[in-house]
């Protein structure tokens, strides 16, 4: 009756936590400290087609972002210099050009000679076994009483076909977080190379998971509609809210030099903040067009207002950013930033006059929840999940209605007060509350096994 929490994605992540990584880590840390559940930690190895156990203290380091694959790889033992040089300088070039070097020798004889030489060189390398970071983890022998909980970038790191086969044979439970079905519903918003990968992942997920814990009612409804369309028996479906409290972090000191540089660019101007990856689905363009229109008409003054886009640069955004950076009217009024720490991001939210979220579609919209939690006026699109998350506290507009966004942007800049009628911290779930809701979903999906685990823990 072991309960395993999968942290493969956290292990593989070396940058600041965003979206899915934050969810995996915040829940993972709470599983670690939960006295009511005996949770062990695991990673999945495609090479082994198996889950590998991660020792608890190592798991905590990974969840805290203090240990990742890159660091582990840097610490792997290196081959002795002589063998390394032998491999690099002699063995590999020889293997590559062996057939050229043996040209002219009869084919079968050449093949034999090559094999003999290769054996000899292989012998030189016999004493050296290339280590991998997986050597430090042992394979878990799952039983039918076990539960795997997973919520990372599983399309990247897991082989669901293999997991399903193992599950059919052994009978363990598999519970996954379902963030959204965007690749199925809106494939135009997915990196082209990922469209089929993600569609395949979701296709297999509905045959594999015993429970899907969705990050919004919207995502749950999408999952139900998917199952109805394809006549699949839906797995257990439940919903948990994402925490918007940055894990309870409070800025203890002033801005970092990184943030100071951004604040300097903003100067004394009022600014609207949009925190989200830069990619077509996020619809930064409507903000660019709206601001351009208002500045060009003279309704807004570039010396008094700005927009700040915080987020990683995603796919298909290069030309858009070129437009932004080379538009003489707008260039100085849109400021781009990325890789901010949680503390810096909180400070930026506090300094913003209002926030924006014009995305075409979301599974949740964490940036919207975070802004409302800081008591900011938010203009968001009318995507179903955003309406759900804002609970009536944001202004929702059609993400294609430029005229409406221009008006809203103008009015937002002209508002005297940046704050709305929400006490800072008085909106949305904390990550602790989020964890409790998640556990509820877990009990729905694998109730008996979780109950037995809880009994053992007590």
């Amino acid at each position: 009756m072991a309960v395993y929490y999968d942290i493969t994605t956290s292990l593989n992540w070396a940058a600041s936590p965003v979206g899915i990584i934050r969810v995996e880590r915040e829940l993972g840390k709470r599983f670690y400290h939960d006295p009511e559940l005996l949770v062990q930690f695991c990673i999945y190895s495609k090479k082994h087609k198996a889950f590998l156990e991660v020792e608890r203290s190592t798991a905590l380091q990974i969840l805290d972002g203090k240990l990742n694959r890159k660091m582990l790889e840097e610490n792997l033992p290196k081959p002795p210099l002589s063998q390394f040089l032998f491999a690099q300088e002699i063995y590999k070039p020889f293997a590559r050009y062996a057939h050229v070097m043996l040209k002219g020798v009869r084919h079968d004889k050449a093949a034999n000679t090559f094999d003999d030489l290769k054996k000899m060189f292989d012998g030189e390398m016999l004493n050296w076994k290339e280590p991998t970071i997986l050597d430090g983890f042992s394979e878990i022998k799952l039983t039918r009483d076990d539960v795997i909980i997973t919520g990372g970038l599983d399309w990247e790191y897991k082989e669901l076909v293999e997991i399903n086969k193992a599950k059919s044979t052994i009978g363990f439970s598999y519970v996954a977080i379902l963030y959204d079905l965007i690749p199925i519903l809106y494939p135009q918003f997915v990196v082209p190379a990922y469209t089929e990968l993600l569609a395949g992942y979701f296709g297999e997920l509905f045959w594999t998971a015993d429970g899907l814990i969705c990050i919004s009612e919207t995502t749950k409804n999408d999952a139900i509609a998917y199952c109805e369309k394809w006549r699949l028996a839906p797995p257990s479906l439940s919903v948990f809210s994402l925490g918007s409290d940055f894990g309870g972090k409070v800025p203890s000191k002033g801005p970092s030099t990184h943030l100071e540089a951004i604040l300097k660019k903003i100067g004394n101007r009022r600014f609207g903040l949009y925190v989200s990856t830069l990619e077509p689905r996020k619809n930064h363009r409507i903000l660019f067009l709206s601001l351009w229109g208002e500045l060009a008409s003279g309704a807004l003054d570039g010396d008094e207002c700005a927009l700040v886009f915080v987020g990683k640069r995603g796919w298909n955004i290069f030309e858009f950013l070129f437009e932004v950076e080379h538009n003489p009217i707008v260039a100085d009024s849109i400021i781009l930033a990325e890789d901010l720490s949680d503390e810096d991001l909180l400070l930026l939210y506090k300094a913003a006059h209002f926030a924006l979220f014009p995305s075409y579609y979301e599974g949740y919209g964490l940036g919207l929840a975070e802004a409302l939690r800081e008591g900011k006026h938010v203009i968001a699109s009318d995507a179903p999940a955003l309406i759900e998350v804002s609970a009536g506290k944001a202004l929702h507009l059609d993400p294609n209605d430029t005229r409406a966004w221009r008006v809203a942007l103008y009015e937002a800049f002209k508002r005297k007060e940046g704050q709305i009628n929400i006490e800072p911290g008085g909106f949305g779930a904390t990550w602790d509350q989020s964890y409790d809701e998640f556990k509820f979903g877990l009990r729905m999906a694998a109730g008996d096994k979780i109950a037995r685990n809880e009994a053992a823990a007590s």
Binding site: E196, G203, E204, W207
Partner: protein, 402 residues
């Protein structure tokens, strides 16, 4: 009465639809007392010596009036035997020796040869054209979709084939079309409406083998069956109508049988390879399949898939699917010349990928089709026995009578 028929493929081992149709006609002639001879002018790159009869003659596959245009060996064969004197003489002497009363052309491609032969031999031989498709339009589609040929070139090829085919129609005592649509086309273009008879494609039906340990070992539940040759429209159709919807509505166990020469092409599709691990659980390929296993596969299938997007003529696979008495999910194109079955119980027409996918989902969850005896008999009207006992067939053989 002696009939000499000319075609561009041998019929010693009839496998594909064209070969089977020629063989069925041969049997019908022989049954009615005709002396029938078939000469194949075949591509030696496609058929080995053991696949042909002694009277068959290889063409020169390098002969080309449209350099670098693929998929037109059949058209070039007709020109080769018409314009290469050595080849012409080899075929002409064989025909002269046989002293036929009728020359039957399977497909129009050998018309340039026949035209020259009739002019030079001055023998009173009647010609009739046994069409398998309106070839010009079909060839254009294949060249554009599968051959990477520019419109202008593909259109020139189409025009050349159309001219050949319509001239043949005008010079034929009788034209057998394979579908009403083709018949209309010939009537309009060649003004031969009074000489056209429609005899669509049929199949030789004998009850299929009921059990096979291999089939029951592989398939533990209901499965779809798709049978097709390597002919590009078969693969393209499967890609467009079946794989476009993806196969995740099926459980991760074998639920689709892909049989015949189409297997390799389907396997190599991006839409298949992009889901290789998952689809390997769901799809079973039978690239080379013996008759008994194929028979058992058809007999135990839950539904037949006919996802054909382009092509002409009438599809033998459609006839097989209808005779099966199983669920049939088909496009209108695949049902061409079997239009009377549009509303038959168990036949579902789906002309878009979305509709095809919905039909597959729906049928997968339905119980096996059970037809009344009347409907079983109705579906069996597509057998050759039934077709050659029809009024249309009688009319054809009446015209041939001296």
């Amino acid at each position: 009465m002696k009939v000499v028929a000319l075609g561009t493929y041998p019929i010693k081992f009839p496998i594909h639809g064209g070969q089977r149709r020629v063989t069925a006609f041969r049997d019908a002639y022989v049954e009615r007392g005709y002396d029938y001879h078939y000469i194949a002018l075949y591509d030696p790159g496609s058929y080995k010596l053991e696949d042909v009869n002694p009277s068959d003659i290889p063409t020169d596959p390098t002969y080309s009036s449209f350099p670098d245009v693929p998929f037109i060996t059949d058209m070039e064969t007709g020109r080769y035997f018409a314009f290469n004197n050595e080849a012409f003489q080899a075929l002409a002497s064989q025909i002269t020796e046989l002293q036929p009363d009728f020359l039957a052309l399977e497909q129009p491609f050998l018309w340039p040869f026949v035209k020259r032969y009739l002019e030079e031999s001055r023998r009173p031989i009647s010609v009739f054209y046994s069409s398998q498709n309106a070839e010009g339009r079909l060839k254009y589609d294949i060249l554009r979709r599968n051959g990477g040929v520019r419109h202008a070139v593909a259109d020139r090829v189409k025009t050349a084939i159309d001219e050949c085919e319509f001239e043949l129609c005008r010079n034929s005592k009788v034209v057998i079309a394979v579908s009403e649509e083709d018949a209309r086309s010939y009537a309009e273009e060649a003004d031969c409406g009074d000489r056209i008879i429609v005899i669509r494609n049929g199949i030789d039906y004998s009850p299929w083998i009921r059990e096979s340990s291999e089939v029951s070992r592989i398939f533990g539940g209901p499965y779809f069956i798709f049978v097709g040759s390597a002919y590009p429209p078969n693969i393209e159709g499967f890609d467009h109508f079946v794989l476009k919807n993806r196969l995740y509505f099926l459980p991760p166990r074998k639920s689709v049988a892909v049989c015949g020469g189409a297997s390799d092409g389907v396997f190599q599709l991006n839409r298949y390879l992009g889901h290789l691990a998952s689809y390997s659980e769901r799809v079973q390929f039978f690239p080379k399949i013996d008759d008994d296993t194929l028979s058992a596969l058809k007999n135990n299938a839950h539904a037949f898939l006919l996802p054909i997007q382009t092509g002409g003529g009438s599809n033998l696979k459609t006839a097989e699917a209808l005779v099966s008495g199983k669920w049939v999910i088909t496009t209108s194109v695949a049902l061409r010349s079997f239009e009377e079955y549009r509303n038959a119980p168990g036949v579902i027409i789906a002309d878009t990928p979305a509709a095809f996918g919905e039909a597959m989902v729906d049928v997968y969850h339905r119980p096996p089709l059970i037809l009344s005896n009347d409907h079983v008999a109705y579906r069996r009207r597509v057998t050759w026995d039934s077709l050659f006992n029809s009024a249309e067939a009688d009319r054809f053989f009446d015209i041939l009578r001296p």
